[in-house]
Amino acid sequence: MAADKVVMAVQYSGARPDDVRLVDLGVITACYHRMSGQTHLLMEPSPEIMAHLWGRTLTLAEITAALATEFDMAAEADFPDTLAARLEELCAIGLVTTHA
C-alpha cells in the first residue's frame, strides 16, 4: 500500500508543444519529435496523456484523475497501471520526463 502511494506521487513532465508535431491519423496519432528527429506512432491514451502534460508537471494520481473521466475509466482499478505503463513508454523515447 505504501509502495502504491509512492508510485502515485511520481511526477511526470510533458514536452512543450513546440517540441513535437502531432498529426491525427484516426486510430493512430503520428508524432514528430523535433529534438530527436524521430517519428513515432502513438495509440490512445498516449496522445491524451501528452496533451494533459503540455509544459506541466503532474503526478500519476493527477493524470489518472484527469483521464479517468475522459475515457470513462473511473471504475477501473488497474487504470493507473495502464497509464503508468504508457508513461514509461513515453519516457523511454523522451516525450515525457520523470522525477521522483
Binding site: 513515432h40 506512432l41 495509440m43 497501471d81
Partner: protein, 151 residues
Amino acid sequence: MTDKPAKNPNGETAITESEMTASGLKDLVQPSRRRLLMMGAATASTIVSVKPAMAQAQVSILNCQIPVPGPHVGGQYFDTEGNLVTPDTPGAIQPPNRTYTGEQIKNALNGSWLDGAPDETSKRAYLKYIDKLQPGQSGFTCYVSIVNGRR
C-alpha cells in the same frame, strides 16, 4: 495466418502479409479501444517508432561481397569472438584471406559450412568478425543487407 503465394513475374515468391507489416502494428490496431485501455501494464509496447529504411538493401541488386579480413585489419588475427588480436596471441585464429559473397555468408549464418573455415570455431570467429563490422569498413553494407533480408 499462412498465405500460399504463387511465383511472381520475377520468379520470386510473392511477399506474405506478415513480412510486410511493421512489427506489432497489425496486432496494435485490432483490439477495440476499451480492450486496449484495459490491457494495462500487460500490453507489449503500444508505440511504434519509425526506423530508417536501409537504402542500400532496397536498391542494391548488385552481388555484394565481404572480404575476410577487410583491408583495415592489416595482418591481425581473430579471437574466438571475432575481435582483432595479434598473431602471436594464444588461440588466435588466422583469417581465411578470401572474399565471400553475401549468399555464402547468409548460408553460413543459417548453419551451412563456410568455404575456407577449417573448423566450427574458425567459422564462428569469421562470422562474429563480420557481425562486428562498422559503417565504412569493407563488407558492412553487404552484411546489413543480408541481415535485414533475414528478419
